[in-house]
Symmetry: C2
Subunit: 455 residues, 2 copies
């Protein structure tokens, strides 16, 4: 029996004191955000109308490798961090694999996911700037919950636009957000111009992250003392989420463990970008090599079937243009229970790394994902979120390959959160009513045809 | 700033290797279970029809101070334990109190509570005895979930009778149990003789733990290869739950901290009995003194308004008689969202300790409890279960008293679980629709009048 404990916790002293900015080590920097009118790179003063000043600086900084984490945020982190790096002894035994499986579990806080890591940072800078409140969108509800928690802690107002399909499937999420004092509106709504427009064009739509972003941005930019904050995709979010990877690496280093494969689910990229940051940094600097795998749902496969192109971040086309792997900002994925992975595009940082061949991507079917989730839950005692279960599925597949080959690979994956608010989806799975949806090539092409024409 | 971290985790090596049997140190032992027909103490062979052999031994042993935890259970414990002992710095700051507040947080596992500590032990002994499965009741659903998890892990069949009011208010709990392969029936049901009888006498009843116990026991004793397991009240459960207190004490000792006040919510007594075990042991041996406070709901006040008498453990009167503080086994509390605290009686061990003046008890109103829960959630980042929030309420009250007097008391309370499946109750609270129910003296007297007549 190995000396490695089931759960590795860093001490408070060992916790990272600075976020790592992966962009500083990238040879090919992520493409800049463009002004949708002029197609010129967005300037800090333009972005300042949407985001807080300090966050704009973080967003645009491609060279500073480390940003000190402010003392107040470190204090908040200590409330729910460090998160455990778990050695999945029980899963290994169940699979009969020689592989060594670890997962970084980010679900032990009320938001139920890693989203709190960036929520507190963004709320902190908004507060520091003297703002009254923030607006945002939420898919599965984890980001909205996280932001509500951060805002309640700091005394900021919080307005959340929640993707309608999640709002309906996760009624209790709304109450958690209300417990933290947030207002929650199902999106698309009739409260905004862009919401009205989307509803007119797609009556009965179940919404998407892209729609909800448009609504939240509209409210932020038309209400005094408010700014918009986003839970994924942006460079600043990946910066804050680097805490996940930094802790993971510190925990592995403590026991002299070097991973072979690092796996994360990918919607907008916040979890994956954070988890892989320091490992990818080593890879970029030529200090180490790792297989890094992004896992996305077959129903919303931006990396594996998307185009690498400039596109709108939102359905309403009110946001800047970002270069990313995208299915087109008009793509509204079929109702898929992994609400947090229903985004049409992918972080510019991750898109560039993928395009440079520095990481792999794969897509998996929902029913396979839930089967993996159930296997995992029964042996590891944690009921995983559907999003996280995409990573579980691929981790299990890789571990089973090791069983065939006899290789003792070390696999690390991100377990971003818990599925306590996803029981409607689990119920469908148990009742055999869950279906898999895979968009057709024609459907994707029609969406690609609407990509903005660049000069 | 103190050197004590926000969260104290024991290492795996520091985790307790044996359960502590508080009864061994009690001068006045808890009264024995009696045969309901003869009123003679129940013999091991009689109890063996209901419980596993090994658990019967643990139930009846009032002298052995420590029971080694089997290796397989220790392994399972390592999957989700040690649980953190949290220093509530943020709550202290919010309250402006000089008191030092700690809470032992048992909610970081999918059952959402401390119940898993005894579930795995009971399932393990059932498996070891070669049984096919177990039956049980569940109130809030936490015990049922815990048992489902333990049974899934060991490959045992699991039949759960769930108090109807919780079954209806917590539909998602059922799906969690199904994820772990359990069958779940709302109680009272038409599946058992006792269920039919209760429904005939109380049509439209929302059920109680007492009813559900009767049904589960009936099924266990009439089905080949099955035994009944119980999540609270019993001596064996308090023994297993001593892991909570042992870890708490080890964590405090590590930093040289001695508590002044120890607070726990009390339904059947599993959490409170486990949390206080080693502290009460010191008190019984004259080695230390602590104020120990049991907190119960005003709607179901067995310690503060009950009688200390022999009573049935269940509504259907199929179980042995236990001497305990009781509201009468016929008492069906008003629908109360703290489902886990809706039991008419209290552990015989705790009842004896209370009767001997070794601990205090207090009852609190539900609306006050939810107010405390929300205060706690906003600063400590954990959405507490309504049950646990009873302890939070009294911990806050004690901390505020310290603010008045300037005393720097050290308060430790048990945070037994999370409230993710209690959002219906939180919603009622937010909407101002939550009411407080306090039984009248006449109502209680009518219930006391039906207590079994002893010779």
């Amino acid at each position: 029996m190995s000396q490695i404990p089931y759960k590795i916790y860093l001490t408070e002293e060992e916790m990272p004191k600075a976020w790592y900015n992966l962009r500083a080590d990238m040879k090919n920097k992520p493409a800049p955000l463009l002004n949708p009118g002029t197609h010129e790179p967005m300037k800090a003063e333009e972005l300042g109308g949407v985001f807080c000043e300090e966050l704009v600086k973080q967003e645009l900084d491609n060279t500073t490798p480390y940003f000190d984490i402010p003392e107040e945020i470190l204090g908040f982190y200590k409330m729910y961090r460090p998160s455990p790096l778990v050695r999945a002894y029980c899963l290994e035994k169940k699979l009969g694999t020689p592989a060594k499986i670890y997962y970084k579990f980010e679900g032990n806080n009320t938001s139920g996911s890693h989203k709190l890591n960036s929520a507190i940072a963004q709320a902190y800078y908004a507060k520091k700037q003297g703002l009254k409140g923030v607006t945002t969108e939420t898919g599965a509800g984890q980001w909205g919950t996280a932001l509500s928690m951060a805002c309640a802690y700091l005394g900021l107002d919080c307005k959340v636009y929640m993707v309608k399909v999640s709002y309906e499937q996760k009624p209790f999420r709304r109450e958690v957000m209300r417990t933290y004092g947030a207002s929650v509106t199902p999106s698309p709504s009739m409260e905004t111009e862009v919401g009205k427009k989307i509803l007119a064009e797609h009556p009965g739509t179940t919404g998407s992250l892209g729609c909800a972003i448009s609504e939240a941005v509209e409210v932020a930019t038309t209400t005094e003392g408010y700014r918009y904050v986003l839970g994924s995709v942006l460079n600043q979010v990946l910066l804050h989420q680097s805490i996940i990877g930094l802790e993971t690496k510190a925990a592995l280093d403590k026991y002299g463990v070097k991973p072979d494969i690092i796996i994360g689910c990918a919607g907008g990229g916040s979890n994956l970008g954070g988890l892989i940051a320091p490992f990818m940094g080593e890879k970029l600097r030529g200090e180490a090599d790792y297989r890094i795998i992004a896992v996305e749902p077959a129903s919303c496969p931006s990396l594996t079937r998307g185009k690498y192109a400039y596109d709108f971040c939102d359905t309403g086309m009110v946001c800047p243009l970002a270069k990313m792997y995208t299915l087109g900002s008009g793509f509204i994925p079929a109702p898929n229970h992994a609400g947090g992975l229903r985004y049409h595009g992918m972080s510019s940082v991750l898109s560039q790394l993928y395009d440079d061949g520095l990481m792999e991507a794969t897509s998996v079917k929902q029913t396979d994902v839930f089967e993996a989730a159930e296997t995992f839950a029964r042996v590891e005692g944690i009921l995983p979120a559907p999003e996280s279960s995409h990573a579980i599925k691929v981790a299990i597949d890789e571990a089973l390959k090791c069983k065939e080959t006899g290789e003792e690979k070390t696999i690390v994956f991100g377990l971003t959160g818990t599925g306590y608010f996803d029981m409607v989806a689990y119920e469908k799975f148990h009742d055999g009513q869950m279906t898999d949806y895979i968009p057709t090539d024609e459907e994707l092409q029609a969406s690609f045809d609407k990509l903005p024409k660049m000069d």
